[in-house]
Amino acid sequence: MADTTTPLRPRPLSPHLQVYRLTLTMAMSIVHRITGTALYFGTMILAWWLIAAAVGPNAYSNVEWFMGTLIGKLILFGYTWALIHHALGGVRHLIWDLGYGFEEAEREMLTLATLVGSVALTIVVWVIGYFAMGGLR
């Protein structure tokens, strides 16, 4: 084994992402992983919020202050969209897992619905949240 003189031929590689033309379903599949990863790190904010609430008013006001800054709002807005997009994408995957929605028109419609639905629902949640915060101030 160790004294082999004939060099081995390089093993064949299966084609990866870059050899395919980018399609919407493919892009959304990648986005599903990206949003999942974003939510993964977003749980640190959830943990911070809950622990701060448990620690006391001062710790909690720090979270409130950070979430009020522009960066905090952007993170929270991104988290909202990622959560809703990943949830809708998950529903789409469950539909596919059950064997439905594989026709070309169906799968394109489902994929587009995930994208449009997630943006629309994110805006709805933020409008409700905006009024919950007291509306125009």
Partner: protein, 131 residues
């Protein structure tokens, strides 16, 4: 079945033992079960968070510490953390090819998820039981 195997293990024994990996499709299945649970739990979570926006600390403590909200938050957190543990492990195994680095990041993923779960669960239990 083609030519009979010379091994003493029967096919049934091999299936039950799940082969060299020692595990089968549990992660695939658990990912689906948690995702199904998380459809409703995510809606509930968003409603809880939105309803707490702009409320002061005392009000937030009272709501998060009330039994129904605390139970729903705990379910959301536990299902989420298990779901994200499986998901991240799958991504890491897909993209990281160096064996030692893979081992390191997979274990780090496990520790991260346990720390997040422990932090969130402890916080909610403290809000519920006080002191």
């Amino acid at each position: 079945m083609s030519a009979p195997s010379k091994r003493i293990l029967t096919p049934m024994r091999r299936v039950r033992g799940l082969g060299a990996a020692g595990s089968g499709t549990e992660h695939f299945w658990h990912q689906r079960v948690t995702s199904f649970a998380l459809i409703s739990l995510t809606i509930i979570f968003v409603v809880i968070v939105v309803s707490l926006l702009g409320r002061n600390h005392a009000a937030v403590v009272q709501v998060l510490g009330s039994p129904l909200v605390a139970i729903l938050m705990l379910l959301f957190i536990l299902a989420s953390v298990y779901h994200m543990w499986i998901g991240m492990q799958e991504i890491l195994i897909d993209y990281i090819h160096d064996d030692k680095l893979k081992l390191f990041v997979v274990v780090t993923n496990t520790f991260f998820c346990i720390v997040i779960a422990m932090g969130c669960v402890f916080a909610i239990l403290k809000l519920s039981f006080g002191v």
